[in-house]
């Protein structure tokens, strides 16, 4: 809560043209926004570019921030739009988008993960890497970014009911991928 009110004050200062406030907001939030971008686009270099674009948009759009949503939710919604746009461009360039294998190395292939295959967490991690970008994104938004249903809806620009159904199908697909790896979670 304190972080949110501090970030609100910084955004107000940014709207007034305070570049130092932008630097402070960036320092406080760059890691979480960057991690979100890396997880969605699955490319470190692209995520770094997008991170820069996100905070340039914050600088230019701070005057339009009404304070109705949490600052984090607002910044993540900007990041979501940048990531979606980047993925769309990638699809246009490379043709059909193979979500399971296109962007980053599959966690299955890393020696570290291979060595840990008996570990439940390693199996879940590997299965998660096989999810679509949309399904990975909803899991990250909720489990790591700790967005509520309404906040996730705002970030993604979709209705709350769709957020819930997307979460259901993401978890269901995860169970299916685990089952294919020999792990039956007993659900669904």
């Amino acid at each position: 809560m304190e972080q949110a009110s501090d970030d609100r004050a910084l955004i107000r200062a940014i709207a007034g043209g305070d570049a130092k406030a932008l630097e402070r907001l960036f320092s406080r939030n760059q890691t979480r926004v960057f991690r979100y971008l890396v997880r969605v686009v699955r490319n470190q270099a692209v995520a770094e570019e997008l991170l820069n674009e996100v905070f340039l948009s914050v600088w230019q759009g701070a005057g339009g921030y009404q304070g109705r949503s949490e600052p984090t939710t607002w910044m993540l919604s900007i990041a979501h739009n940048k990531a979606v746009s980047a993925l769309r461009k990638k699809r246009e360039v490379s043709g059909a988008f193979d979500e399971a294998s296109a962007e980053l190395e599959d966690a299955d292939d890393s020696p570290e993960v291979t060595a840990q295959k008996s570990d439940k967490s390693a199996h879940i991690r590997a299965a998660m890497s096989g999810l679509s970008a949309e399904h990975r994104e909803i899991l990250d938004l909720v489990y790591y970014q700790e967005q509520s249903v309404s906040e996730a809806a705002e970030v993604l620009g979709i209705p709350e009911a769709t957020v819930k159904t997307r979460m259901f199908y993401a978890r269901k697909k995860l169970s299916e991928l685990l089952k294919a790896r020999g792990i039956d979670r007993g659900w669904p």
Partner: protein
């Protein structure tokens, strides 16, 4: 959009969808009550909660392994410095802040006696602020006052002093919203000439425009009617 997202979920599936938020605690009271009530009738939900907790733990661990971006702050600073519109915004804010601080340092009596010296000093700053006057004609671009001066001879004008602490962003938004345009200034005493309409307004309409300015006492410290061609 995936067609699966238009599906209507069974009650059990709806509960399964809510479990991640139950685990993080970011769940509404109504949804929490739904989960608790369902779990009371279906004990297996407790085990399903453990599955969601496993997912949360792995997601957290995967994110934690992502290191910080490289030299990101330096890159952002470089981008800011390279963007003309960004430079302009910062310059505008800085100038208004300096102007506010500078004027705030004078008492009313000092301002009255400072007369010629202040006018000279303001004239120097007027050259700077002239380059920052906004084009409020809706193009969204900035233009210099010199470039637009020939268009500003008619209309209805006000003499306006702005609050020293008025944020540039709020001030800019207020002027834009009302299609007000700073056409000249600052003059002695920190007064600016603001065009409130391209048309010569009736007395009532001009008074209404002035009232709009005066109503924003957080941004405007003084406003009065000005001659038609300042």
């Amino acid at each position: 959009m995936m067609t699966e997202e238009t599906d209507v979920l069974s009650e059990a599936d709806q509960i399964a969808a809510l479990l991640p938020w139950y685990v993080t605690g970011k769940i509404s009271a109504a949804d929490r009550a739904k989960v608790d009530a369902f779990a009371g009738r279906h004990p297996e939900v407790r085990r399903h909660l453990a599955l969601a907790q496993d997912e949360a733990d792995v997601t957290f661990a995967v994110n934690q392994e992502i290191g910080p971006p490289k030299a990101a702050l330096d890159k952002l600073k470089a981008s800011l410095a390279a963007s003309p519109s960004v430079r302009l915004k910062a310059a505008q804010a800085s100038l208004l802040d300096k102007l506010g601080t500078w004027l705030g340092g004078f008492s009313p009596r000092q301002l009255a006696y400072a007369g010629v010296a202040a006018a000279l000093a303001i004239a120097v700053q007027a050259t700077s602020i002239g380059s920052l006057m906004l084009d409020r004609a809706g193009t969204g671009h900035y233009r210099t006052a010199a470039g637009s001066r020939t268009d500003l001879g008619s209309g209805t004008f006000a003499m306006v002093a702005f609050q020293p602490a008025a944020p540039a962003g709020a001030l800019s938004a207020f002027l834009s919203e009302n299609k007000f345009l700073i056409t000249d200034g600052p003059k002695a005493g920190g007064m600016f000439v603001v065009r409130v309409s391209e048309q010569v307004l009736s007395a009532d309409a001009a008074a209404a425009a002035l009232a709009k300015l005066k109503a924003r006492s957080d941004l405007v410290s003084f406003a009065s009617a000005a001659p038609a061609k300042p």
